[in-house]
């Protein structure tokens, strides 16, 4: 019964987010049309790049039609599952996104995992002794992480760990170029290598992932730790923890089973937001580490006024945002029995 209620809620949430998705599609479309660059001109590079060649490219891209008609055509294509073609890569956007999304997801998830593994204990440690030295140190360290732009921390990490120390592998994408790729199953290299049983490859991919993931993680440890601390403080100060103490429960049980499990619920919500933000915001990290992800793809497209990839990317990100929120919702519903009642 409870599962049914959760599923029901999820379905309702999903349906109610469809208008937002539609809004995103239209808004992006219009925003791209406002961009002052004309992709046809940008891509017309022949020696006689006169009006004819530009007109040809415009026609090829459908840019010769009025904007409302273009929008309708775009929506029709969308409904048929087509996202258009990228001029920068020459590939259908759908294919590009499909090839590149796992890279972004793998990076973001790893970074998020690293961040969580660091942030939750830090936040808990700070909350257990608020105002103590530990608390101040945690706060300071977290603040340090957020105040360095990712492109700077990324470049510095490369300089130190790759260039100076030679500890990290060359920052040239997802896997050492001389390693063979695993057969593509999920697109997540770590998973694909594991499926193939190629542990050497798995390690190579993991090493490659380390620096960019660390760069991203540095930036999100702070909000997560801060949230953990705050909600842990609230949880530790709550009546039910006092009850648990009054009953002589072990400290471990009080901190973990009672306080932390309750405190983690708000963190869960934040994790959802942080994840979708990271996925869209890792443009710079992907650039710095030559990571073949979707964000750097969209950035290149944007700077060359290549509409289709940017539109596809934004739609993809928005859909992921919706899906992640949905997942968080479902998880929340499972973790917190109170939710499904409302």
């Amino acid at each position: 019964m409870k599962l049914g209620a959760t599923a029901n809620r999820a379905a309702r949430r999903f349906i109610s987010s469809l208008p937002a998705l539609f809004g995103v599609v239209v808004f992006t479309f219009l925003l791209m049309r406002v961009l002052p660059g004309d992709p046809a001109v940008f891509f017309a590079s022949g020696p006689q790049a006169g009006p004819e060649e530009i007109a040809m490219i415009r026609a090829q891209m459908g840019l010769d039609k009025p904007v409302p008609q273009q929008l309708l055509l775009y929506l029709r294509d969308l409904s048929q599952g087509q996202l258009g073609r990228s001029l920068t890569t020459g590939q259908p956007v759908l294919v590009d996104l499909r090839n590149r999304l796992p890279a972004s997801l793998e990076l973001t998830l790893t970074a998020l995992l690293i961040a969580l593994v660091a942030a939750v204990p830090l936040g808990v440690a700070a909350a257990l002794r608020p105002g103590s030295l530990v608390d101040h140190i945690v706060r300071f360290v977290c603040a340090l992480g957020v105040c360095v732009p990712t492109f700077v921390s990324g470049l510095l990490l490369i300089y130190v760990f790759y260039y100076l120390a030679g500890l990290a592998p060359d920052p040239t994408g997802r896997i050492d170029i001389f390693m063979s790729q695993p057969p593509r199953v999920t697109g997540f290299l770590l998973i694909d290598f594991a499926i193939a049983g190629d542990w050497e490859g798995w390690q190579a991919a993991a090493r490659q992932l380390m620096l960019p993931a660390l760069t991203m993680a540095l930036f999100v440890v702070a909000p997560l730790a801060r949230m953990t601390r705050a909600s842990m403080l609230a949880s530790l100060g709550s009546d039910f923890v006092r009850t648990a103490r009054s009953l002589g429960l072990s400290r471990r049980k009080i901190v973990v089973t009672y306080a932390l499990r309750n405190a983690i619920l708000p963190v869960l919500t934040i994790v959802g937001i942080v994840f979708s933000t990271m996925l869209g915001a890792n443009v710079l990290v992907e650039k710095v580490f030559s990571w073949p992800g979707v964000a750097s793809y969209a950035l290149d497209a944007l700077l060359s006024s290549d509409y289709a990839p940017v539109q596809g990317f934004v739609l993809l990100m928005a859909s992921i945002f919706v899906l992640v929120n949905l997942t968080v919702d479902v998880l929340y519903g499972v973790a917190d029995p109170r939710v499904s009642v409302e």
């Binding site: 020696p47 890569t89 760990f161």
Partner: protein, 571 residues
């Protein structure tokens, strides 16, 4: 921690060999304490995964593999696709053959392509008729496409027809060599093709050596053609049907392209195959990362470093740096000669007199290139007419600039914008800052506009940018080609919107002038007139800095400013 670090070392040493230096540095205490802590932590983090990793198999093939890194992306396998990048052009020279190719010559001790030497590629030899109207190509009989089918005259005919007929980049290029129609190509026999020209054209043969008229496997391509797409353009974007020295093993647009040697292609030195068994081209957007990669020996060659990095690497002396001024390119400051106040020659000349040339050359380019300023022209006449560009008699002279500005009716200067595109920010930004500062001294207030590349090209195409910097390059750098393509007519590349009847007339006349002396005479007139009109201020020819491992040999600067990997070998 130190333990973790030490156990870590052997693997890295085996693989790279340079880590020892930085380790020693580490122990000598050159790094600050934070760095040490970070390194130790990281080492501990990675130690577990690193220990068991080894790559003996890779080490074997490493020497036979060439790893090339670049900031841009290969976006198509068919160089004719509108929007193809330079890197895509570069790739096509490896996967496809053309009928002919450029020879090479030495310029200031460096190998560069030679427009005047056209040698056979798929054509074993060619003959030009005495009237210059017919060119007959005799194909190699041993040439085979990657799938093993022999290269025939039919393939050549289909491919060249495609170049002039299909809606692609080729047609626009080919017409600069008077090649415009499919019926200009005739099959004489299985291994002979004839090209007929409407008039003798110096650029007909060189055009066939560019990247567009590559020879496709017509049977394969036709099998992929459709009614809407009779030239199989769609399929050829992601597939190759060529006979070139390399076969595409994997192609990830914007990421990596891996090429495998075509063992049947034996047209290298001494009829051998190409030297490298594999070529990997990777897109690394960060220039400093590219520098790191090649410096650490992880990449073998790179040609698009920032000037500062190239200068630094050259100074360190551990790598081979071949710095070739791009003799077919110009970086300039351009005016829109149709927009006031730049429609006044005095204004253009005033600005030309006010630019801090030496400072710009030093700060923006780190002096890596050939100056196009600072010459002395006797009597204001161009000293040379056979080439373009030539060094201009430009000097910084603020008094002269002020005088000219007053003469133009702007004693107090004026306000304008100066634009450049984001992609060139590395050199254009310092240049712009110096320009702004210097023009400020003669009362011209400059607002610097840094525009995204697409926006810049759109505005330029619409002729809406008054004052900006750009660069041009001509694949076929003959004097008249420059004038015809960059200073005439309403085309996009006429950056200065110059519309001078004399230049138009002389340039068209020079095109078909067979006599060298007469040609040079036209050139003298054009070069002089060009300087007088000052539609653009040529600044320099930036160097192509090819930075490579010391073991790499045979690098030649090519017309398309890419590496022809068939030239390269490893000692």
């Amino acid at each position: 921690m130190a333990c973790a670090l030490l156990t870590f070392t052997p693997w890295r040493l085996a693989k790279r060999g340079r880590v020892a230096d930085s380790l020693q540095e580490f122990y000598r205490g050159k790094m600050d304490i934070m760095t040490r802590i970070k390194i130790s932590l990281f080492a501990a983090l990675l130690a577990g995964t690193a220990l068991t990793a080894a790559a003996p198999a890779i080490a074997q093939t490493r020497a036979e593999t060439l790893r090339h890194v670049t900031g841009a992306a290969i976006n198509t396998l068919d160089p004719n696709m509108p929007g193809s990048t330079r890197e895509a052009f570069g790739l096509s020279l490896l996967t496809y053959d053309r009928l002919v190719s450029f020879g090479r010559k030495q310029l200031d001790g460096k190998w560069v392509f030679d427009l005047d030497t056209i040698r056979g590629e798929l054509a074993e030899r060619y003959e030009v008729s005495p009237d210059g109207l017919k060119i007959v190509f005799h194909l190699r009989k041993d040439a085979k496409f990657h799938d093993g089918t022999p290269v025939t005259a039919e393939d050549v005919k289909w491919s060249l027809d495609r170049a002039v007929t299909a809606r692609s980049l080729a047609a626009g290029q080919m017409l600069t060599g008077s090649i415009t129609k499919a019926d200009q190509f005739r099959i004489i026999d299985q291994h002979t093709v004839e090209l007929t020209l409407p008039q003798p054209d110096k650029l007909a043969l060189p055009n066939l050596a560019t990247v567009y008229p590559v020879i496709f496997n017509s049977k394969l391509a036709k099998s992929k053609a459709t009614a809407e797409d009779p030239w199989a353009q769609e399929w050829l974007k992601t597939n190759t049907a060529g006979s070139g020295a390399y076969i595409v093993e994997s192609f990830k647009p914007g990421e990596t392209t891996i090429l495998r040697r075509n063992e049947d292609w034996k047209r290298g030195p001494g009829n051998s195959q190409a030297h490298f068994k594999r070529i990997i081209t990777q897109t690394i957007p960060e220039a400093s990362t590219r520098a790191n990669l090649v410096e650490r020996g992880d990449a073998d060659i790179v040609i698009d470093l920032q000037a500062a990095d190239a200068a630094d690497l050259e100074k360190k002396g551990r790598l081979k740096v071949i710095s070739t001024p791009q003799y077919n390119a110009i970086t300039f400051v351009s005016f829109n000669t149709q927009m006031p106040p730049f429609d006044k020659i005095e204004v253009r000349r005033a600005i030309a007199a006010a630019l801090p040339y030496e400072d710009m050359f030093k700060a923006a380019l780190f002096e890596r290139g050939k100056k196009l300023f600072g010459a002395e022209w006797a009597g204001g006449k161009a000293p040379d007419g056979s080439t373009f560009p030539i060094v201009q008699p430009l000097k910084t002279n603020l008094d002269e600039a002020k005088r000219l500005l007053t003469a133009a009716g702007f004693p107090n200067g004026f306000e304008t914008t100066f634009s450049f595109n984001v992609g060139q920010a590395g050199t254009a930004e310092p240049m712009a800052a110096l320009l702004k500062e210097s023009l400020g001294k003669i009362g011209i207030k400059v607002d610097i506009q840094k525009l995204p590349d697409a926006q810049m090209s759109t505005l330029i195409n619409e002729k809406k940018v008054p004052f900006f910097t750009e660069g041009i390059v001509a694949w076929l750098p003959s004097m008249d080609y420059f004038y015809r393509n960059f200073y005439i007519g309403p085309i996009r590349w006429n950056y200065s919107s110059l519309n001078d009847p004399q230049i138009t007339e002389w340039a068209q006349a020079a095109r078909f002038e067979g006599d060298k002396a007469k040609y040079a005479a036209y050139g003298l007139q054009l070069n002089t007139r060009h300087f007088e009109l000052m539609p653009q201020i040529p600044l320099w020819q930036p160097s192509q800095d090819a930075v490579m491992a010391t073991s790499i040999e045979g690098y030649t600067y090519q017309f398309h400013r890419q590496i022809d990997f068939r030239d390269l070998s490893r000692k």
